[in-house]
């Protein structure tokens, strides 16, 4: 099975700052790490490869130094990587990013399965996977909690807010996975050195037969007009009566008031 895992390099710190001018994340001075959800996507791909064979290719879009994260995926077990790097890609929103990644997957060719983390931890949109599925015209299953290969199809379990689903899906397919699907491994120290025997291919805009209007800032209809951190609010609790009977009555009244319990309960 030929599997492509899309990864994103995100700022290492949780203390993310926003550039006031561009309204984008200010990456200056921040180290990078692989988006944690994507490590679950990679582990899923490696487990599928282990079960049925095939190859795992990791793909990212970003500046040249994002190759470090791709190299890390090679140390974790991926077979090869593709870096999409071009100044024309700068300023891309989720639509333009999905477009370029989708074009790269078409160029890789004969891909059976594309896997992404459910979202990135810096922008948190969760949109790139579904956008790619639409552009590639392949079925998608998002928020997968469990994936099993059965003959020529996948059996996928997903837990949504009020419903658990089991889906049987044919390939080719795009999948996004949650962080409960598996436990990613740490990079093995010796495998880091060995990863340099594997290849990272760099593709520029000219390698992908792109429509210029759909790339980078020009291809990004999303404009962030303002961004701010939510104000921290402290909710003051309420102490119930000491007497258990009175406390229970007080609690039931409070729950009804908040529509958590129905009036006739």
């Amino acid at each position: 099975m030929k599997i492509v895992v899309c990864i994103k390099q995100v700022p290492e710190t949780t203390n993310v700052k926003i550039d006031e001018k561009t309204k984008n994340i200010d990456r200056r001075g921040l180290g990078g790490v692989i988006n944690s959800y994507d490590l679950h996507a990679l582990k899923t791909a490696l487990e599928i490869k282990q079960a049925v064979g095939g190859e795992v290719i990791t793909l990212t879009m970003g500046p040249d130094d994002f190759a470090v994260s791709l190299r890390e995926t090679l140390a974790l077990g991926a077979d090869s990587s593709v870096l999409l790097s071009d100044r024309a890609f700068a300023g891309a929103d989720t639509l333009a990013t999905g477009y370029v990644l989708g074009k790269a997957i078409k160029k890789i060719a004969d891909v059976d399965l594309v896997i992404l983390g459910q979202q990135s931890v810096d922008a948190d949109t969760g949109q790139v996977g579904p956008i790619m599925a639409e552009l590639l015209q392949v079925p998608q299953v998002t928020y997968a909690n469990e994936v099993t290969v059965k003959n020529d199809h996948l059996v996928i379990k997903r837990n949504l807010d009020n419903v658990a689903q089991e889906i049987t899906a044919q390939l080719p397919l795009l999948l996004t996975v949650t962080d409960t699907i598996n436990q990613p491994e740490y990079t093995n120290v010796v495998e880091i050195a060995k990863s340099f025997a594997k290849t990272i291919t760099t593709w520029h805009a000219s390698d992908l037969q792109l429509d210029d209007d759909r790339v980078g800032q020009a291809g990004s209809p999303t404009i962030v007009r303002s961004i701010s951190s939510p104000e921290k609010t402290v909710k003051v609790g309420h102490k119930l009566a000491d007497n258990p009977v009175d406390a229970a009555k007080e609690l039931v009244t409070a729950l009804k008031k908040q529509n958590i319990l129905a009036e006739d309960d």
């Binding site: 290492e12 180290g31 790490v33 130094d65 190759a67 470090v68 190299r71 890390e72 140390a75 740490y186 990079t187 093995n188 120290v189 010796v190 495998e191 880091i192 050195a193 340099f196």
Partner: protein
């Protein structure tokens, strides 16, 4: 970014994550139980930490001294004992790489991926005075017969392979490599030390252990040179451990002083607190620069004895003093066994003694300074 820098960045990303998730949360438990809980030793082996600086031709990752020290620094920030356990293993590998004959390297270096190697000089009769030891090896035919008692070995009882210093003549010191699966090898008493309680420190007893000539490390009579070399390598890495301890101390005091208020003001705003926090930060950075200079010199084939001694002497004194400052900032919490500051002082205190006392380091530094000007 070249291969070396890329590898280093990936490695340090992983070590940071490993330390934050697997080591730091268990720091107090390691101290209290005197053992590596959370299956840490198996995890260390699983992810090949033991092979960090092992040359690639023996199955290792082949990272240089600078990167290896940075790994120990990061791990020690989570738990100093684990940093010292790795330090003991790495300095032993270093001596086999430097002094081992090819047969010895071929036999033991590939095993260093999964079996911890220890380095042993001290005996009841001698520590910093190696000629005071009584362990000895006697040549019989093409074999050496080793007898003696080694104590206070870092990782003693945990390590499976030991580089041991013995006398091969009344005033002749040599090193041999012995293995816990050899006939005549026994583990002895474990020490009950004040700090670095996760690190087993123990005794081995050698009763007529018979080894081949290729188990001789270096040549007969090279004991002092090999011992000095091991000390230098250990002191560099101890500088990294001590930096990790001070980073841990800084994390604790800055968090506490930012949130703790006196008269409605966070105490970090008070000059008396600021001076202590600043002193810890300067000491941490100075120790880091000292060990990094030592690793740079080592990686570039230059003499690093003085910088190694400085990193350990200055770092250990500073980490103890910084711990005391941190304790004072935290007040009663600092003095409590339920909070980590007190054990950081105990951990740092060990390194004013181990691998040569602070006093011995100062003697070495002074003599090198005088020699350089002679």
């Amino acid at each position: 970014m070249d291969q070396k820098q890329t590898s280093k960045e990936i490695l340090l990303r992983m070590v940071k994550s490993f330390t934050e998730n697997e080591v730091a949360p268990f720091d107090m438990e390691i101290d209290h139980t005197r053992s590596y809980v959370n299956d840490l030793l198996n995890k260390i082996k699983k992810y090949d930490f033991l092979s960090t600086m092992l040359p690639e031709e023996y199955g290792g990752a082949g990272f240089d001294g600078e990167t290896t020290a940075a790994v120990i620094n990061e791990i020690a920030k989570g738990n100093a004992s684990l940093g010292v356990t790795l330090e003991g293993h790495f300095k032993s590998i270093d001596q086999i790489v430097k002094y081992g004959n090819q047969a010895l390297k071929d036999e033991y270096l590939p095993q260093a991926k999964s079996r911890i190697i220890a380095f042993s000089m001290t005996e009841p009769s001698g520590g910093s005075n190696p000629l005071g030891i009584t362990s000895h090896a006697e040549k019989k035919g093409d074999k050496w017969i080793i007898n003696g008692d080694k104590i206070m070995i870092t990782n003693g009882g945990l390590a499976e392979i030991y580089c041991v210093m013995v006398k091969t003549a009344p005033k002749e010191l040599s090193f041999f490599v012995v293995d816990n699966n050899m006939e005549g090898f026994e583990y002895g008493k474990q020490e009950n030390f004040l700090g670095l309680t996760g690190v087993p420190v123990g005794e081995i007893v050698m009763n007529n252990i018979e080894v081949d000539e290729n188990h001789l490390l270096g040549k007969v009579g090279m004991g002092k040179e090999i011992g000095d070399s091991a000390h230098n390598d250990a002191r560099v890495l101890m500088g990294a451990v001590l930096t990790g301890i001070m980073e841990h101390e800084l994390d604790i005091v800055t968090d506490y002083a930012t949130h703790r208020k006196a008269m409605d003001t966070p105490i970090i705003q008070m000059q008396g607190i600021q001076r202590k926090v600043a002193d810890i930060a300067v000491a941490k950075e100075t120790t880091k620069l000292l060990y990094q200079k030592a690793t740079w010199l080592k990686d570039h084939g230059q003499d690093y004895e003085e910088e190694a001694a400085m990193a350990k002497a200055y770092g250990s004194r500073s980490a103890v003093k910084s711990g005391d400052d941190a304790l004072q900032i935290l007040g009663g919490y600092g003095y409590s066994l339920d909070y980590p500051v007190e054990h950081l002082i105990r951990d740092a205190r060990a390194m004013e003694i181990a691998e040569g006392t602070v006093e011995k380091m100062r003697t070495a530094i002074a003599l090198i300074e005088a020699r350089n000007r002679a």
